[in-house]
Structure formats: C-alpha cells, structure tokens
Amino acid sequence: MAFFEQHIHDAPKTFLSKYIFTMDHKVIGKQFLWMGIFFLGIGGMMALMIRWTLAFPGQAFPILGPFLFPETGGIVPPDTYAMLFTMHGTIMIFYAITPILIGAFGNFLIPLQIGARDMVFPLMNMASFWISFFSGVVLMVGLFTPLGAAASGWTSYPTLSTLIGDPGNGQTLWTLAIFMLGVGSTLGAINYITTIITLRAPGMGYFDMPLTIWGIFMTAILNAVFLPVLGAGCLLLLFDRLFGTTFFLAGAIATNGTGDPVLFQHVFWIFGHPEVYILILPAWGIVSDLLAWFSRKPAFGAKTTALCMITITILSTLVYGHHMFTTQMSPLLTQTFMTLTMTISIPSAIFFTNWLGTLWRGSIRFDSPMLFAMGVVFVFGLGGLTGLYLGTVTTDIYLHDTYFVVGHFHYTMAASVLLGGFGAVYFWMPKMFGVMMNECLAKWHFWLSFIGLNGIFMGMMVLGYAGMHRRLYNPFVYEFMKGMVPLNTFVTWSAILMGAAQVIFVYNFIHALIKGKKVEDPNPWNIGTLEWTIPCPAPHYNFKEIPVVKCGPHEMGNPNLPEGKDFQYQTEKLVKV
C-alpha cells in the first residue's frame, strides 16, 4: 500500500521554516486553525451587527458602533448592512468553516489517522495555505475601498454583482478572492485525495480508515471537481466587471447581444450544492467517529455510513436545481430536481439511523466532545428535516428567500459544522498542542452555545414561516411584518448569548495553550486509532515506524478483551475468543 519510502526528515530549526513557511502538515493544520478562528470572530461580529439592526432598528450598535460608523452615530447604515450580510456569509463559509474543518483537521488528521509521516506533496500543502491566506487578505481589503466591500449576498447573483448593481472595487476583490481561494482549496484537495489513496499504512483498507477520513476524502473529491466550476463563473464575472464582457447582463441574446444573469445562478449552484456537502461531510465523519468512541462500542454500520457518504457525494452533484425553483425553470425540471433531492434523504436517513444505533446501549461518556457530537445529531436532524420543505417545489415557492431558508441552512451548515468543529477541537487538542482544555468551561461553552443557536435558528424558521424576507434592512416598515419585532428581539438576544459563549471558548483555548497542564498520557481518551499510538503533541515525523494496521478504527467494548481494557489499538490483532 505504501507506494514509496517515507523518510524521516530533520526537524526544521529556524522560526521561518518551523512556523511560517512550514511544510509540516501538523503546523499547516494549526495555521489553518488560527486563520479559521480569526475569521470566525470577524464573521461572528458581523452576524451580531446584522442581528442588532434587525432587533433594534435605528439604535446605535453598542461599543463598536460609534467607532465603525461615526457618520451615523453608531447606527449600521443600509448599504453597510448589505455588505455585512454578504461578508458574513462569505467569511463564514469560505474563510472560517473551510479552513477549520477542511484545512485544519483535514491537514492534521489525514496523515496521523492513516499512518503516514506527512502529506504526499508538502510543498503544495504550503502553497495551499498561503494562497488561501492571501485570498483572505484580498477579501478583507475590500472593506477599505471607497465604496465598501461586496454587497450582493454571498451568492453574488448578477445583476447585483455586475457593475450596474455594485460599482465598487469591493465586489471585484470579492470575486478575485473567491477565485484564489478556489485555487488554494483545489491544490489542497489534490493533495488530500492522493495522500489518502497512496499513503495508507500497510494493512489499512479503505473501510479501516476512521470515518473522519472518509468525510474528508469525499469532501476533497467534491472540492477538486466542483471548485473549478465556481472558478470559471468567477472568471466570467471578473471579465464582466473589468473588461466589459456581457455574460451576465440581462437582455435578449439574439437582438442586442447581451447575456443571461441566470447562467451565473446555474454555475454558482452546480458548485454551490456540492459546497454545502463539502462543508458538512467532514463534520459528519468526525461526529460518526466521536459517537462511536464515546459510546465505547463499534460504530453501528460503519461500512454503511461510509457507503452512504459516497452515495450522498454522488447525489449532491445532481440536485442543484432546487436552489432555483423560482427562476422560471420548466416544471418538468423542477419536479426532476425535487425527486432527486428527496432521494438524498434516503442515504441521509440511513446514516442518521446509524448514529442512533451507535448510541443505542452504549456506555456513553459525556465528555465535552461527545456533548458536541450529540448536539450535531440534534441540530443536523432538525436542519435536514426542514430541508425537505425547501426541496419540495410547492412549499419552496412560498418559503423561498424567507428566514425559513436562513434558519434551515444555518442549522445544517452553521450549527452542525460549528458544533462538530468545536467537538473536534476539544477532542484533538491534546494531540495538536499537548494540552487538555478545561472540561467544566467546555461544558458551559456547549450548553450556552447550544441554547443560543437553537434560539437563533428556531426563531429564524418561525419568522420565515410567518413570511419575513431575508436581506431586508428594516423589515418592519412593511405592515405585515410589524408584529415580528418581539421575536426578532428574542433571536438577537439568543445571538448575543451564543456570541458570549464563544468568549468562554476563546478564553479556554488561550488559557490551555499558555497555562494548560501538559498531557503525559499519549492516549487520554482511550481511543484505538493510529494518532493515539504516538506521543502528545505529535512529533514532527509522526510515526517512528510506519504502523501496520490489523483492525478497524472503532474496536471497542469487545467482550473478549482482557479485564480492565475496553478498546484496542488499530495496530493490534482483533481479539477473538
């Protein structure tokens, strides 16, 4: 299985080669983690500004407001509001979730969990991080241009995103940034796919990989195939903005020779629907593993879960039309897309049942990673079920572009991925940094976040069902939405609660890094996968000797195990009677 000899390289000595231009997958993973947490903070602050505006229209945003918007006395101005929701979406999806789940944990876990010394192409790995980093810089520069940042929504539909709708440089920079990020992520994806195929430790078949790796593997495949689609769309949009081409200008094609704005929607969602699975698949994988590990029993139907992930990956490429039911699509097509969308619920339901089957009669340990994993089971179930109403044409026509959509995709993409990501941080903290985080604070963080996010997104769904549109600066100027102020205020207070809970996390994280107690035990959670066979934190060469894998990743609670031991390492032969 190993295709070539992996040599142990000398540890890098200078600061630059160790921390900045590093080719070590673990350090690159940490770089991605820092970048993701930084952008998570910025995106979260933007979310709070959006929520504040919706709950208390015409009131100054506390503390930061007077500094950011001095000309209005601290009130978020309408044009800034559009920039805020655009940048919030873009930052959270492309610069927070992608770096944390795919960049950080993808990089950190793939070699450790498959028993390799590094990625196949370390240089490409470094390039992937730095391209992503600079694309983040390009995006943020947009905020400081004269007309402000991009303001056409994270989907950047033309004509809003053409020069007519958004004449400033912010949108151009946004498009460039997304293109650059696409290049960076594609480089990463090529690396991940090749590494997983070729560097698995001897004896490790595909189904012996932890489900985390399965999730990241599927994500990498979707990334490699579909990010270039968005890249092409971004290039055309850039040409429209810079060189006066007319791809996305509205008008009849034959008579005056202009383009078709709906084309961008097609291109965007051909990429965009796989993108939501790109974000959620690593979280699914992590959660499937965590549930099994903390229930102290093998993952129920692990092979089926992996196969369901493959099925969903394939199906996710065929359903993008359900984002476009209201674009005068032919009814025949809408029904086709609706049926295909409904088909996704079959594999989803299977592996959701597998999650529950894993929990069933397990000796569950309620450590913080497990709490987060179980939180994902709840919020993802809710988010997935509400998706059915949006995938059905008849209900979608009513719910389209309301807060119901916002609530739905935040449940699936934000809540699930965030909780999964936090669970992963708490869980792999000893392996990444050699310290444990405070368990009590972690539990507070979990419960406050969990209550907060359910308040936010459940409230959003109720609002949307009542007909509140998304992306409105002040919805309460409309007669029928006047009664929604109290519920909006509730959602905003929930958001503030959730924001406050993240302060606990940041404190806990920083405190653990600076003053945390060093973990002596290489395996504090008693888990059998390969990364727990090596010391904490992982040495730069990972494995002194490349391990030989003899059993699956969740061999726990085996009654044949000797007394006092409820798990076995993947390097040990499966214990039989």
């Binding site: 090749t194 070729t198 055309l236 020779g257």
Partner: protein
Amino acid sequence: MMTQKVGKIESGEQVVNSIAMLVTIISFSMLFATLFLSFFLYRLSATQWPPMNLDRIDHLFPAISSILIISSSWFYEVFKKNLDRSPNNARYSFLLCLGLGLAFIISQFLFWNDLKEVGIFASSGIYGSLVYSFTWIHVGHMAMGIFTLLYLLPSVMREDFKKRIRIVNIGKFWHFLAVVWLMMYLLLFVI
C-alpha cells in the same frame, strides 16, 4: 508504453504522481466544461448565431493556431519516444515543441488584433465576450504550460531524462491544453 521504460523503484512514485495528475486534469476539465456549458446556454437560446447580425469570424488565425498546437503536442510525443533512443533528437523535438507553443500564443495575439480590426471587441455583445474570454482563459493556461516546459528545459538541455514522471505529467497537461483548444475551435469557429 511508459510503464515499461520506468524502472521498478520509481513505479510507486509514478502511481502517486499519476493519481495527482489525473485529479488535476479533472479539475481543469471542469473549469473548461463550465465555460462550454455557458457557450451552449447562449448558443441554444439564441434565435440566430452569431447574434446581432454579425458575420462569422475569419477562420485563418484559429486554423493556424490549431495546426501549431497539434504539431507542438506531436513533437512532445516525438520527444518522449526519443528519450532513450537518441537524446539529441529528443532535445531538438522538445525545443520545437516549446517554439510551436510560443508560436501558438503569438498566433492568438494576431487573432485578437484581427478581431479588433473587424470591429469585434470583448465588450461588443455576447459573441465577442465568448470568443475573447475563452481564448484568454486558454492562453492563460497555455502560459502555465509554457512555464512547466521551461521548468523542464534545463534538464533537457543537459540531456538528463531521469525525471520521467515529470516529463510524462507535463506532457499530459500539454496534450490536455491541445484538446481543449480543438474543442474551442470546433465550438467557437466551426459550428
């Protein structure tokens, strides 16, 4: 053919690089496939093509470009065949391949000048947009291809062909660009 030439020690590394190259080519294909999708969308929804009563574009430069890029690809194959047989011939065919690639880029610039003289600009409607953008993006990739060839150049001049995997993979990318150009030629200028 190549697998026989490459020794056993290298073959593992070759598999790794082939997988990575395959994924890379798939990524690039999706980029161009999206462009072709947009072409078909405009082409099929237009009642008349080219739109706005424009005349068809003169074939001369695109046809020359096609010949140049095909022969460049062909010389790359000649280069690969001669690696062991006659290193000197290999070197010459590599240089020919590189020269023809550069000539292709020049022919594209001439083609754009030609278009401008007829009065078709990137900003003059969807037809101009399609022709310019597609050729720009392709030439951008051709420039990348040229860089990879230049990267190979020093070792070729030394007649040092030990990095077989690199030669094979750069060849794959180079041929891919030729195929993309031929598809563009068919779509934009022939049908």
